[in-house]
C-alpha cells in the first residue's frame, strides 16, 4: 500500500512537467498564449489555425498548448489562482466562469463586444447566456454547441414492432413496458458517470415546470429545489427507474469508455439520451449503424400538464474563451484581434462543420447542406438556434461546490436510495453557498 503515495506523486509531477513551463501569463515566444484541450478533431483544427495565424501575423503570434480534458480543469484553476494564467482561458462558461469573474481574474468584454457588433453577431445570440454574469460578458462564445439529443435505434424499434418514437411522457412509459416484454432494455444510460443521469433531470425539470424552476435554483432562492414542479420531475425520474426504463446494471456503466454508445449500436437498447457528440462516436465505432440509417432522433417528450416549451433544449451552448485580466496590454490586443479574425474564421467554421459538429457561427447554417451528416447536423443546429431557452448543463452552470453535491445526490436518486423529497432537502442545503 506504500506504493500509493509515490505513485500519486509521480502522476502529479507528470502533469506538472507536461505543462508549458514558460508560456504562462503572456510569456513564451508568442505575444499571447492559449491553453486548449487535446484530442481530435479539434486539436488538429486549432493547431493548423494557430500555425496559419502566426504566419500571417508575425508581430502578434500566439502560443498554443494542449492539455488532456480532466487535467486541464485542475491545472487552469491552479494557474489562475497563482497568477500564471495564459492570455486566453478556454472554458465552459457558467459557474466556473462566475468564480473567475468574482475573483477578478477575467476581463469584462461587454463594451468591446458592443463596439464590435460584427464580432458579437458572428455567433448565435443564444450562446451568450453562460458567458454573461450579472449582465456582463466575460467570455467570447465560439466553436460548437452540444445539445442533448434523444436518440433511438430504428433496428430495435422495427424488430419489436414499434412504429414511431414517443412524443409524450406517457407514450415513453408504455414503450418501456413494450420493450421490456420483448426482452430489450428500453433506455441505455451510463449511470456511473453521473452527469449522464443529470441530463434527464435537466429536461424533465424544464418540461415539467419551465425554465423558471432551474432559474430560481441558479439564483439561490430559498427552497428552490423543493418547488412542487421540481418534486414532480424528480418523481417522474424515479418512476422511470422503477419501471425498469434503464438497462439493468446501468449504475456500473461508464461513459468514458463509450459503453453506453456501444449498447446502442449493438442493439442492446432501444433509446438513449446523450450529447450530440455521441453521433460522431457511434458513426466511427458502430460499423454501418449510422451510415445504414439505423440511428434516429426525436425531441424530448412533453409531459401532460407541463409548463415548459417543447422546443427548449439542454446541453452545452458552446465553448467560452476569456481573456486573463493579468495579461499584458499587448497580449490583450492580440487576443482581441484573434477573437475578431481568427477564432471563428470562415475556414475554421467550415472545418468544424466538416468534422460533423454543430458549429455556433451564424454563418454555419448554410454550410450543413453539403455535409454527409446533413440530416443530423441540421436537426441539432435547429434545436440550438430555435430553442427559446437553451439550458446550460447544470454541473457547468452551478458553482463548483453545488455541482459536486448535485452529482452525488443524483447518483442516490437514480439508485432509489433517497426519495425526491430527501434529494430536494439535501440540495436546498447547498443554496446560496
Amino acid at each position: 500500500m506504500l506504493a500509493m503515495a509515490p505513485l500519486a506523486g509521480a502522476a502529479l509531477s507528470a502533469c506538472g512537467t507536461s505543462g508549458p513551463g514558460g508560456s504562462s501569463g503572456g510569456g513564451g515566444d508568442g505575444k499571447a498564449s492559449w491553453w486548449y484541450l487535446s484530442g481530435d478533431p479539434n486539436e488538429t483544427i486549432r493547431k493548423d489555425n494557430i500555425a496559419s495565424w502566426n504566419e500571417a501575423n508575425a508581430d502578434s503570434t500566439i502560443d498554443i498548448t494542449f492539455f488532456q480534458n480532466d487535467a486541464y480543469k485542475t491545472k487552469i484553476k491552479t494557474a489562475i489562482g497563482a497568477g500564471q494564467a495564459p492570455t486566453m482561458i478556454y472554458g465552459w462558461g457558467g459557474g466556473t466562469l462566475a468564480s473567475y469573474a468574482a475573483a477578478g481574474q477575467v476581463m469584462d468584454l461587454t463594451d468591446w463586444l458592443d463596439q464590435n457588433p460584427d464580432v458579437k453577431n458572428a455567433v448565435l445570440p443564444a450562446s451568450y447566456g453562460p458567458a454573461t454574469i450579472d449582465g456582463k460578458v466575460y467570455a467570447y462564445p465560439n466553436e460548437n454547441a452540444s445539445p442533448i439529443i434523444f436518440y433511438y435505434n430504428k433496428r430495435v424499434f422495427e424488430k419489436v414492432g414499434v412504429s414511431a418514437p414517443p412524443t409524450t411522457w406517457d407514450e415513453l412509459m408504455s414503450l418501456v413496458d413494450t420493450f421490456n416484454q420483448a426482452g430489450v432494455a428500453p433506455i441505455g444510460l451510463a449511470g456511473q458517470s453521473r452527469w449522464t443521469s443529470m441530463m434527464w433531470l435537466e429536461y424533465l425539470f424544464d418540461r415539467q415546470g419551465g425554465p423558471q424552476v432551474f432559474d430560481a435554483i441558479f439564483k439561490g432562492e430559498a427552497d428552490a429545489w423543493s418547488n412542487p414542479d421540481a418534486i414532480a420531475a424528480l418523481t417522474l425520474t424515479q418512476d422511470l427507474v422503477k419501471a425498469k426504463g434503464f438497462i439493468q446494471g446501468f449504475e456500473s456503466i461508464t461513459a468514458d469508455s463509450n459503453a453506453d454508445q456501444a449498447l446502442m449500436y449493438t442493439d442492446k437498447v432501444a433509446m438513449m439520451l446523450h450529447g450530440s457528440w455521441t453521433y460522431a462516436g457511434m458513426k466511427n465505432d458502430g460499423g454501418d449503424f449510422v451510415s445504414g440509417g439505423n440511428l434516429g432522433w426525436f425531441d424530448f417528450p412533453t409531459i401532460s400538464g407541463g409548463k415548459g416549451d417543447p422546443k427548449d433544449t439542454c446541453g452545452n451552448p458552446g465553448q467560452y474563451t476569456s481573456i486573463s485580466s493579468g495579461a499584458s496590454e499587448e497580449a490583450v490586443q492580440v487576443a482581441k484581434d484573434f477573437f475578431a479574425k481568427g477564432i471563428m474564421s470562415e475556414e475554421i467554421v467550415q472545418k468544424f462543420v466538416d468534422s460533423g459538429q454543430v458549429c455556433i457561427a451564424a454563418s454555419a447554417a448554410d454550410k450543413f447542406a453539403a455535409s454527409e451528416d446533413k440530416d443530423f447536423l441540421e436537426y441539432a443546429y435547429g434545436l440550438t438556434a430555435n430553442a427559446p431557452v437553451f439550458q446550460q448543463s447544470w454541473d457547468q452552470a452551478l458553482s463548483p461546490a453545488t455541482a459536486e453535491a448535485l452529482l452525488s445526490n443524483i447518483d442516490q436518486l437514480f439508485s432509489l436510495s433517497i426519495t425526491p423529497q430527501q434529494f430536494a432537502d439535501n440540495m436546498n442545503a447547498t443554496l446560496g453557498q
Binding site: 500500500m1 506504500l2 506504493a3 500509493m4 503515495a5 505513485l7 500519486a8 509521480a10 502522476a11 485542475t74 484553476k77 491552479t78 489562475i80 489562482g81 497568477g83 468564480s99 473567475y100 468574482a102 475573483a103 477578478g104 481574474q105 449511470g191 456511473q192 453521473r194 438497462i247 439493468q248 446494471g249 446501468f250 449504475e251 456500473s252 456503466i253 461508464t254 469508455s257 459503453a259 456501444a262 449498447l263 442492446k268 458553482s399 463548483p400 461546490a401 455541482a403 459536486e404 453535491a405 452525488s408 445526490n409 447518483d411 442516490q412 439508485s415 436510495s417
Partner: protein
C-alpha cells in the same frame, strides 16, 4: 562516482577513471569533524516539499479560500467545526478505516504466503514470481481503467467469457462496490508486500530449518514456529505501509469509482480532493488533510510500539 563522471567530460585517458585525489582527501578530513552538513540536501528537500506544505495546509485550514482569488481570508475555527460536524466526513472516515482493516486482512495472508513461496527453490518459481509481480509495474490509473472495462456488465469479462453470473452491478451497488475496491487495491499492492516478505524470508538462517527438521518438525510446524516469528519486523513494516497507505488511498479509487455510487466509496483522501479541488473549498479540504496527517502519524507510531520495547534486540541469539 556519478559526480566525477558528470563533472569531468573533458578529461580523457587513464587519469579519467580515478577520482580526483585532492577532493577525496578533503572529504576525509571533514569526516573527522561533523558530517551533519551532508544531510543538508535531504533535509532541504524534506523541508521544502514536506514541512513547508504541511505548515501551509495547517494555516490554510483556518482560512476561507477558493483557490482563485489572490488572497485567502481569515476564518478562525469555522472550517474545523463545520468539518467535524459534517456527516459526509465521518462517513468517509468510517469507510477509510473499513477499507484499511479489510485490505489488511486480505493482503497480509496472501502476501505472506506468496512471499514465502517465492523465496523457496521450487521449479518454475522464478517464472511464477515474475507473473505475480506484474501488477507492480502498472500505474493505479491504468489498473483502474482496465478494471472498469472488465467490470462492465454488458461488454466486460462476463460477456467475453460468457459467464452470466459475473454480470453483476459491480460498480453501481453501494455494498458490492466496496468489495470491488478492496479486491482491486489488493490485486495492485499484494505484489509489493510479497516482495517485502520474500526478502524477509531469505534473511532467515538456513540452520534454523535444518535444526527443526532434525527435531522432526514438518513444513507447517516450521512455518508457524520459525518463519512467522522471524518475520515479526517484516510484518510490522508491511502493516505500517498498508495502514498508512490506506489513509492516503486516492488515485485508484478516484479513477475506479470517483467516490460513487453516491458517497459509498468516498474515502477521506478523496473527500479532501473533491472539497478542495472540485468544490474550490481549500479551507475544509485542508482540515481533512490535517486530520489525515494526524491519524496517519498516530497509527504509524502505534504500530511501531507493537514491535515491543525490545524492538532493537536480536532475534538471532544462539546462532
Amino acid at each position: 562516482m556519478a559526480t566525477t563522471t558528470g563533472t569531468a567530460p573533458a578529461r580523457t585517458g587513464p587519469g579519467a577513471a580515478a577520482p580526483a585525489p585532492g577532493r577525496t582527501s578533503e572529504h576525509r578530513s571533514t569526516k573527522t569533524g561533523s558530517v551533519a552538513w551532508m544531510a543538508i540536501p535531504a533535509v532541504a528537500f524534506f523541508a521544502f516539499f514536506g514541512a513547508v506544505p504541511l505548515v501551509g495546509v495547517f494555516v490554510l485550514s483556518f482560512m476561507q479560500w477558493d483557490g482563485l482569488s489572490p488572497s485567502p481570508t481569515w476564518l478562525g475555527l469555522g472550517n474545523w467545526t463545520s468539518i467535524l460536524t459534517d456527516p459526509v466526513m465521518w462517513r468517509a472516515m468510517g469507510l477509510t478505516f473499513g477499507i484499511m482493516i479489510f485490505s489488511w486482512l486480505v493482503q497480509t495472508p496472501i502476501s505472506l504466503l506468496l512471499g514465502v513461496f517465492t523465496a523457496g527453490t521450487q521449479k518454475y518459481r522464478a517464472v511464477l514470481a515474475v507473473l505475480y509481480f506484474l501488477p507492480l509495474l502498472m500505474s493505479a490509473a491504468a489498473i483502474s481503467i482496465a478494471f472498469k472495462a472488465l467490470l462492465d456488465p454488458n461488454f466486460g469479462l462476463a460477456a467475453s467469457l460468457g459467464v452470466p453470473w459475473l454480470a453483476l452491478n459491480w460498480l453501481g451497488d453501494p455494498t458490492l462496490v466496496l468489495f470491488v475496491v478492496i479486491f482491486v487495491l489488493s490485486w495492485m499492492y499484494v505484489p509489493f508486500h510479497s516482495l517485502l516478505y520474500q526478502g524477509g524470508v531469505q534473511q532467515i538462517p538456513k540452520q534454523m530449518y535444518e535444526a527443526a527438521s532434525i527435531d522432526g518438525a514438518g513444513t507447517v510446524r516450521q512455518f508457524f514456529s520459525i518463519t512467522l516469528p522471524q518475520l515479526k519486523y517484516t510484518i510490522i513494516t508491511s502493516s505500517t505501509l498498508m495502514v498508512v497507505g490506506s489513509m492516503t488511498a486516492f488515485d485508484l479509487i478516484f479513477v475506479l469509482t470517483g467516490g460513487g455510487p453516491g458517497n459509498s466509496t468516498r474515502v477521506l483522501a478523496l473527500d479532501m480532493y473533491l472539497r478542495a479541488f472540485r468544490a474550490n473549498q481549500m479551507g475544509p479540504g485542508s482540515v481533512i488533510a490535517c486530520l489525515i496527517v494526524l491519524i496517519g502519524l498516530g497509527l504509524a507510531l502505534f504500530l511501531r510500539r507493537l514491535g515491543g520495547k525490545d524492538a532493537n534486540s536480536s532475534q538471532m541469539e544462539g546462532l
